[in-house]
């Protein structure tokens, strides 16, 4: 039914908006993004940047109040306009999602095995036994110790780290082309986070990964490409090494210099002043201008387009101190 395309997923001019008393306000404001097979792309941004809403609409599971426009192409299917039946066939099969809090995303009254088998059998006409064999294989692949015993467990009987491994197993079980992971380690402890980051970096098989995170260090840890979002727009993107060593957008630079480091001199941190605009706030020009030390009249008059991987009139060069 679906033409296996060369691109895992292609997003064209995606706009996601919500009704407000003053009409529809966009939280995702015209995004273009291509994720190729095997890519590990991090979407980095603060709360309100639109990164989660973009992820949800890629699977067609955005809140019902949201209005989605543009194209989200998986093969020759546009998820934005696809019929429910078509979208359902793609979800969990071609594209799947890992959420932040595994305890609220797994069904508490069903065993791990029954939840994973359901996903296998929904998309493949195979016997219960064959499905269980695949469940066992994927639980082993994501590093769950004693997987045979764990299959019979309920989610509450597992630790947070194991639950997140189960979530990843559920996302991987049908060998999807793309896994969207939304802050998959935020709810986990430090040493468990390190385990899951390892798994996301090297245990995803052939699936491409889109990692949504607010933490540049987590992004750098797992991915090979970083896409920085601010207030609904992509403002900069590039390979990890380039974004870290030579960030050009003042917002990316601000994010990098705001993180505390193991700096023996313990200099005062460099916060980005102010706060992002709210959803209904009308901002003429660049949406970052009011917080940007490089902004001038041009920045408040017109909005910079995203050209050559950056949306800024005054890109900066050199490493961030």
């Amino acid at each position: 039914m679906i033409n296996t395309a060369t691109n895992a997923i292609e997003i064209k001019n995606l706009v996601v908006s919500f009704p407000t008393p003053a009409g529809y306000s966009a939280v995702v404001r015209g995004i273009n993004l291509t994720i190729n097979p095997g890519d590990r792309v991090a979407i980095v941004g603060e709360s309100g940047s639109g990164k989660t809403m973009m992820g949800l609409s890629m699977l067609g599971i955005q809140p019902t109040a949201a209005k989605v426009e543009g194209e989200i192409l998986i093969g020759d299917v546009n998820m934005v306009t696809a019929a429910d039946a078509v979208a359902r066939k793609l979800r969990g099969n071609y594209i799947s999602m890992v959420f932040q809090e595994p305890l609220t995303s797994l069904n508490p009254v069903r065993t791990i095995s029954s939840q994973l088998s359901e996903s296998v059998r929904r998309h493949n006409s195979i016997s219960k036994k064959e499905a269980e064999a695949r469940v066992l294989a994927v639980l082993t692949a994501v590093g769950i110790p004693a997987p045979k015993e764990r299959m019979k467990s309920y989610p509450h009987q597992l630790s947070g780290g194991l639950r997140q491994r189960v979530m990843i197993a559920l996302a991987l079980i049908n060998k999807p082309q793309l896994v969207v992971a939304d802050e998959p380690t935020t709810a986990l402890d430090a040493t468990i986070q390190a385990q899951i980051l390892d798994l996301l970096r090297s245990g995803m098989g052939d699936a491409a990964l889109m990692l949504i995170t607010h933490d540049l260090a987590v992004a750098a840890d797992v991915c090979n490409r970083i896409v920085v979002m601010y207030a609904g727009n992509i403002v900069e993107q590039g390979p990890v090494a380039e974004i870290l060593s030579n960030p050009k957008h003042p917002y990316t630079r601000g994010l990098l210099s705001a993180i505390p480091k193991f700096d023996q001199a313990r200099p005062a941190l460099n916060p980005i002043p102010g706060a992002p605009p709210t959803i209904s706030e009308v901002v003429p020009g660049c949406r970052f201008a009011s917080r940007c030390s490089y902004a001038d009249a041009q920045c408040t008059a017109s909005e910079p387009e995203f050209i050559n991987n950056i949306a800024c009139f005054h890109p900066v060069t050199g490493a961030v101190k």
Partner: protein
């Protein structure tokens, strides 16, 4: 006041909770102190007892055994009434300013609440004090009549800090004070906490899992695992040269911007065991990369080393993480 004056001093403090299957010793014979003007960080994962320890240092929990002193006075068993002065001097800032502030209260009501509890002031005097508190956290006194729900996360955390400062406390307990905030606003709050400390010589007890933040703010660090202190020392020293393998693993687990730290990461197996079913011997041995057979039978005591560092391990210093230090000096 001499610089080494202990404000809060806990000696062999234990806190035990009753659970259906018996008892859970959340804090197990922990000694802890904080001097005037210093920042002590309590570090550990969930279930380590770090928050329970912080709360029992505030006498939010009554200790099951051990003693708690405030300015040399034994307050372990003081009644709530007798604790009133202590409550004034030890205040708290919580993790999530969306749940720690009542969204329907005005900022002035939020900040005046502790003032009302401790002082007999007129409404005008309270408003004046609340306004001063707001100014101290970098907010305009014009905000006094707005409701907490009208503010962003960073502004709310400033209001929460203003509320804690209104009583002019000597100790501020901050439990993950920036982890619910966005990266760009985290730095604002961190800088604010530092400047408040410089101005007021206030002591901080910082509970955090973020070791970069701990390194930035703390003078001393206490590392907890399963209710016990496994390592304690000057922050510089502990980060540069961790003695306990758990400290090494925690430091190594910090998501890093550099390739080398990532490549040489120490990744522990499994998760911390339940404090109800504590492993025999050293509690850390089932996850420890350098555990020997004796570690599962003998329990290492917290030993003081010549430089004042404390560590509970039979093989201190053996496991070292790769950390990329920078120096902007």
């Amino acid at each position: 006041m001499s610089p080494d004056k202990k404000l809060i001093n806990a000696v062999d403090l234990s806190v035990t909770f009753k659970v259906p299957s018996g008892s859970l010793r959340a804090v197990d014979t922990v000694s802890f102190y904080v001097n005037a003007g210093e920042t002590v960080a309590i570090v550990g994962e969930s279930g380590s007892g770090k928050t329970t320890l912080a709360l029992s240092l505030m006498r939010a929990y009554a200790p099951t055994s051990g003693n708690l002193f405030f300015e040399d006075e034994d307050i372990t068993h003081l009644s709530e009434k007798a604790l009133k002065d202590f409550r004034k001097k030890v205040q708290m800032v919580f993790q999530d300013p969306y749940s720690s502030l009542d969204p329907r209260m005005t900022v002035s009501q939020v900040i005046a609440e502790p003032l009302r509890a401790h002082f007999k002031l007129s409404a005008n005097e309270r408003d004046e004090k609340a306004g001063e508190s707001l100014k101290a956290v970098g907010l305009s006194p014009d905000f006094l009549n707005r409701r907490a729900s009208q503010f962003s996360g960073g502004q709310r955390q400033r209001i929460a800090i203003a509320r804690a400062l209104a009583l002019d406390p000597k100790v501020l307990v901050a439990d993950e004070p920036v982890s619910a905030l966005d990266v760009s606003t985290q730095a604002q709050i961190v800088n604010l906490l530092q400047s408040i400390q410089e101005e007021r010589n206030i002591s901080y007890i910082l509970v955090s899992h973020d070791l970069r933040l701990v390194y930035h703010l703390a003078t001393r660090v206490v590392v907890m695992y399963l209710g016990k202190v496994v390592e304690e020392g000057a922050c510089d020293d502990v980060v540069a040269n961790p003695q306990h393998p758990y400290t090494a693993a925690l430091l190594s687990a910090v998501p890093a911007l550099d390739e080398a730290s990532r490549r040489d990461r120490i990744v522990l197996n499994g998760a911390p065991p339940s404090p109800i079913a504590r492993p025999t011997g050293c509690s850390f041995h089932p996850r420890c990369p350098i555990a020997r057979p004796e570690c599962s039978t003998n329990t290492p005591e917290l030993q003081t080393m010549p430089n004042g560092r404390k560590v509970a391990c039979f093989y201190p210093g053996e496991l070292q993480p790769h950390i990329s230090f920078t120096s902007s000096k």
